[in-house]
Amino acid sequence: MTTHYLVLSALLFAIGGVGVLVRRNAIVVFMCVELMLNACNLAFVTFARQNGNLDGQLIAFFVMIVAAAEVVIGLAIIVTIFRTRRSASVDDVSLLKY
Amino acid sequence: MPWLSTLMGVSVLGALGVTLVRNDKLAKQFTLVVSLIVLALTVAMAVQFSPNGDKFQFAETHDWIPAFGVHYGVAVDGIALVLILLSVILVPIVVLASWHDAEAGKRSVRTYFSLLLVLEAMMIGVFAATDVFLFYVFFEAMLIPMYFMIGSYGGAQRSYAAVKFLLYSLFGGLLMLVAVIALYSIAGKGTFMFSDLVGTIQDVTTQKWLFLGFFIAFAIKAPLWPFHTWLPDAAAQAPAGAAVLLVGVLDKVGTYGMLRFCLELFPDAAKFFTPLVIVLSVIGIVYGAIVAIGQTDMKRLIAYTSVSHFGFIALGVFAMTTSAGSGATLYMVNHGFSTGALFLIVGFLVYRRGSHFIADYGGVQKVAPILAGTFLVAGLSSLSLPGLSTFVSEFMVLTGTYQRYVVPAVIATVGVILAAIYILWMYQRTMNGPTAESVKSLPDLNAREKWVVAPLVALLLVFGFYPKPLLDVINPAVKDTLSSVSVTDPKPAVPVAQEGQ
């Protein structure tokens, strides 16, 4: 059973990763990142049960906190960018290049 | 009294002080006074040096980074002492000579003189360092003031020259850093102190690799053929004063390093690589001279003559005979004075006429006889005319080399002929012949400029006839170095009973 959870986690993680790569809307990209984080959390929780150790749950808990903080800052940045550029596309913010 | 730290301290404090002075003229005078104080202190120190005493004197050792056994360790032996003397003598002269050099620069005049004093501290430090790591730090840190002096106050192509100089030196320096760290960890002594590291590396293969790490850095610095192409650019673009310190002192760190580190730390590798180094040196001597003949730009010409001269020095270091080693050390000092004089006088010429090119001059002797006369003396010292100090050193190097390596010595002696050609031909084209229209109103040397040239010419003459004071200091140190490499001079075919030699 554990393996199933883990495979599900891997699948969700990969889908999230693909989403980050193919979507241009910064907010959607962010959601995909969250999806990846959630996938990781699932793995942690699963491992916690597998190993009979609460540390996995604990780290999932911390991941959530960090994710929340990240979302707050990330979305604030998106809003700021949107305000000046009228766009939330990550491809538009490409001045920092060669 | 911590002499060496005092010397560096005074220079650094002086450099800070200069930046605080708000008036350019005052800044120049202040710099001159500081450099003269350093000179006086150094002379006071040199007087107390006992040539036949301990190898390293005026030693100071303090922990710097105890975790890695890095010390702030400074001390001088005879070789380092004369090179420090050379540095501190040249600095006030350069200050006086650069009175107006920095005015057209990108940065302020104060900065230039401040950099000069910083550089002086670094030069003292690099020769005095007895900790290999400290030596490396000074070795690299010296680049910084010089980089700015070339890059901010140089000629038209200063950026190119400065970057080239920096990249070359950094490349060598990084190789050396690798070797320094490897030396530290392979020796396993937990210290970077030079005296503790001597003789710790016994494995010949390891020695060879570490030797190469050090040697390439020094060969670039010196510069030895074929690592020399940065020098003509840097020297030609640098302001005259900076060029003097660059060629006169900074490059000596390379040859000094070969003598001090390459030979003593890796004696077996040094012996293994001797044929290679000698071949490079001899190529450098002849090649540098031939290329110098073909130059159209005076500063580049002098730079190439230096390539030739550095060949002589490296030859002397690796010939590993007493007279060649002492000669090479003496050569380092004399070359500083000789090339310094040449660069400064060419600087005066360029300042007057605004051109480096030989073709823009002609017949200057008629309008500016003193300038021409000092130029000739400096030139003659570059071609090692007996009676000028460079002859003594060149003679010693060649005599010493000939004892062990006949053919290289003979080829190197060809440099003597070539030197006459490049110097006299340049002199003829610039100073002799009918006076060119553009130089008809060239003023002769003024009082300040005479004060710049006079000490150099005097030193060249005095040490040309009486080099004993320098050699008495140098000889024991060189003998000591060679004994740690465990080589002895070849025996003569016909031993002559000698008194007192």
């Binding site: 490409s94 | 073909g294 009676g387 000939y402 006459a420 003569p492 075919a493 016909v494």
Partner: protein, 632 residues
């Protein structure tokens, strides 16, 4: 007879021998550093120093004569020059004191003469400074007791020669000639230096005393090498083949310079070196043979060049080459020839200086005209110059009882005993000497006036004629004084050794008579062509041989083709190689790196998604690698 031991000496005039060098050196220093302030008395100070130096030399000579012949080699320690390599000391012995007397005496006279000759030159002070510098360096050369100090003097005279040849440096020809002289001399120095290195490597000392006393212990191969190398040095300094080319150009310098440096003293330094290093050459037969061959070749070459030159100074320069050839030839024979070589050197110093100064006097009178085709019939307007010149002329062609007769014929006789072929060639040289010197005299002082319209010749002032007169007295009597009764050979023997059997003087030997006859024929030919017949004002084209002689036997052309042109190509090639090859490699590397990073830079598109993709793929690859490695 072996050379005597050197005795360390102090006190007396000999103890103060260093003053000989120091005095003119101080003179030069004062005049050069004093600048224009010393213009007023510069020439007087110069003369004073030269004369003072002569006085010291004369007193030393007197003191030396006071010692027994075996004790006449006195060494004076001065100081430790290069610790471990050389101490500087002076060696006052019959050989060096002879040179000192010649240098200071002739030098003083030429100093005096120059007061008049250079009277109108704005840089006369500098001229005297250089002359003083020369005297000092030359004295150091001959007084040095080791090879390093000798080399210092050797280069010092080279420097003085460079400065004086190029004295009128606004003239490109003078500047070029000066440079050429220095560089050709440097080629000689190259040999001398390597010779010195070899001496040091062999003996570990450079003092004459130690080296020469132990020379017989070294292998003959080493000695031959040293000898040949020293000969190269001597060839450079003494303008012997194949390093002769600079001497003719050196005539660009003021005439007193030509007289002092390029006739009387400096150019004979090579002879001094060979004689001084006698024990080395005596241990190396091959080297001696080469020395004699070089001597003979040069004496003929110089004579041939002398026959074709219309420039009076160049003709005299050819003659100088030729006469030094005689000296080198004699010096190559060994102890039997040394005395004659040095005696001829001294007498030649007198009569050649006499003639050069005479030529200078003529030029001075003819608005610095040097072309003899524009002279003629000067004997009436310049009687003193004419008479003194005539004396010099007779002396050089070996007119009986004059100096050259004794010294040159002495050389020829000695050579004849040693090697007949060389001897007959030397006789032939004497015949040619008779021709070209007569030609010179006839063209200058006899025949019709061929003066430029602007020329108003007049006798030179007393300050110029008195030195001529004194020199001509030497040219008359010195040879006989030195040679008769082997006086000079005996005097010199403690220094250089002497043959077992002293030569005896035969006034009417076969060789002597043949020589005289040949000289007479030469003179007669010259009279026929240049005395009696009209001399064309423009030089006729002449035969191939004339052209050959006029072009200095194609020596310059040879140097140009063999060294200068290839050298220029080599230089250009080297510069090109340095810019494109060495530097090009470095710059190419830099450009390559720059280009690559320029390409690689394009990867930085600025699209965050591209970066994320690379991170993602990287992570995938890492995961894959971990999996693979973990399963291994």
């Amino acid at each position: 007879m072996e050379p005597a031991e050197i005795i360390q000496h102090s006190g007396g005039a000999i103890g103060a021998a260093w003053l000989m060098i120091a005095l003119p050196l101080v003179g030069a220093a004062v005049l050069l550093l004093g600048g224009r302030r010393t213009d007023k008395f510069g020439h007087l100070l110069g003369v004073l120093m030269a004369v003072a130096s002569f006085v010291v030399a004369a007193l030393s000579f007197a003191q030396l004569l006071g010692f027994a012949p075996g004790e006449r080699r006195r060494g004076i320690e001065l100081y430790d020059f290069i610790p471990g390599l050389a101490k500087v000391g002076l060696l006052v012995d019959p050989l060096s004191i002879s040179f000192c007397l010649l240098i200071t005496f002739v030098g003083s006279l030429i100093h005096i003469y120059s007061i008049g000759y250079m009277a109108h030159d704005p840089n006369r002070r500098r001229f005297f400074a250089y002359l003083n510098l020369f005297v000092a360096a030359m004295l150091l050369l001959v007084l040095a007791d080791n090879y390093v100090a000798l080399f210092v003097g050797w280069e010092g005279v080279g420097l003085a020669s460079y400065l004086l040849i190029g004295f009128w440096q606004h003239k490109p020809s003078a500047a070029t000639a000066a440079k050429k002289a220095f560089i050709v001399n440097r080629v000689g120095d190259f040999g001398l230096l390597i010779g010195i290195f070899t001496i040091f490597a062999t003996f570990h000392t450079l003092a004459f005393n130690d080296v020469l006393a132990n020379a017989d212990k070294a292998s003959s191969g080493t000695l031959t090498a040293i000898g040949l190398l020293l000969l190269v040095g001597a060839c450079g300094k003494s303008a012997q083949l194949p390093l002769q080319s600079w001497l003719l150009d050196a005539m660009e310098g003021p005439t007193p310079v030509s007289a002092l440096i390029h006739a009387a003293t400096m150019v004979t330094a090579g002879v001094y070196l060979i004689v001084r290093s006698g024990p080395i050459f005596q241990g190396a037969g091959t080297a001696q043979l080469v020395v004699t061959i070089v001597g003979v070749a040069t004496l003929l070459a110089g004579a041939i060049i002398g026959t074709a030159k219309d420039d009076i100074k160049k003709a005299l320069a050819g003659s100088t080459m030729s006469q030094i050839g005689y000296m080198v030839l004699a010096a190559g024979i060994g102890p039997a020839g040394y005395a004659f070589a040095i005696a001829h050197l001294i007498t030649h110093g007198f009569f050649k200086a006499d003639m050069f100064l005479g030529a200078g006097s003529v030029m001075h009178a003819m608005n610095d005209e040097v072309d003899m085709r524009k002279y003629g019939a000067l004997r009436k307007v310049m009687p003193v110059t004419f008479v003194t010149f005539l004396v010099g002329y007779l002396a050089i062609i070996g007119f009986p009882l004059l100096s050259g007769y004794f010294t040159k014929d002495g050389i020829i006789e000695t050579v004849m005993e040693h090697n007949a072929v060389l001897g007959w060639l030397a006789v032939l040289g004497a015949g040619i000497t008779g021709f070209y010197m007569s030609r010179l005299v006839f063209m200058t002082f006899f025949g019709a006036k061929r003066w430029e319209p602007t020329a108003h010749p007049h006798e030179s002032p007393a300050v110029m004629t008195w030195p001529l007169i004194i020199l001509s007295v030497g040219a008359i009597g010195l040879g006989g004084f030195l040679v008769l009764g082997n006086r000079f050979m005996t005097f010199l023997s403690p220094a250089v050794g002497a043959p077992e059997e002293m030569p005896s003087f035969h006034p009417f030997s076969l060789t002597g008579l043949v020589t005289l006859a040949l000289v007479a024929i030469g003179a007669a030919l010259a009279w026929a062509k240049y005395g009696r017949a009209e001399v064309p004002a423009v030089a006729p084209r002449g035969s191939f041989l004339t052209a050959f002689a006029r072009r200095d036997l194609y020596g310059d052309a040879l140097n140009e083709a063999l060294f200068m042109r290839p050298g220029q190509w080599l230089t250009r090639l080297a510069v090109f190689f340095d810019n494109r090859g060495v530097d090009g490699l470095v710059n190419g590397l830099a450009a390559g790196i720059g280009g690559t990073s320029g390409r690689l830079r394009r990867v930085q598109t600025g699209f965050v998604r591209s970066y994320a993709l690379s991170i993602f793929l990287g992570a995938a690859i890492l995961a894959g690698a971990w999996l693979v490695v973990g399963n291994l």
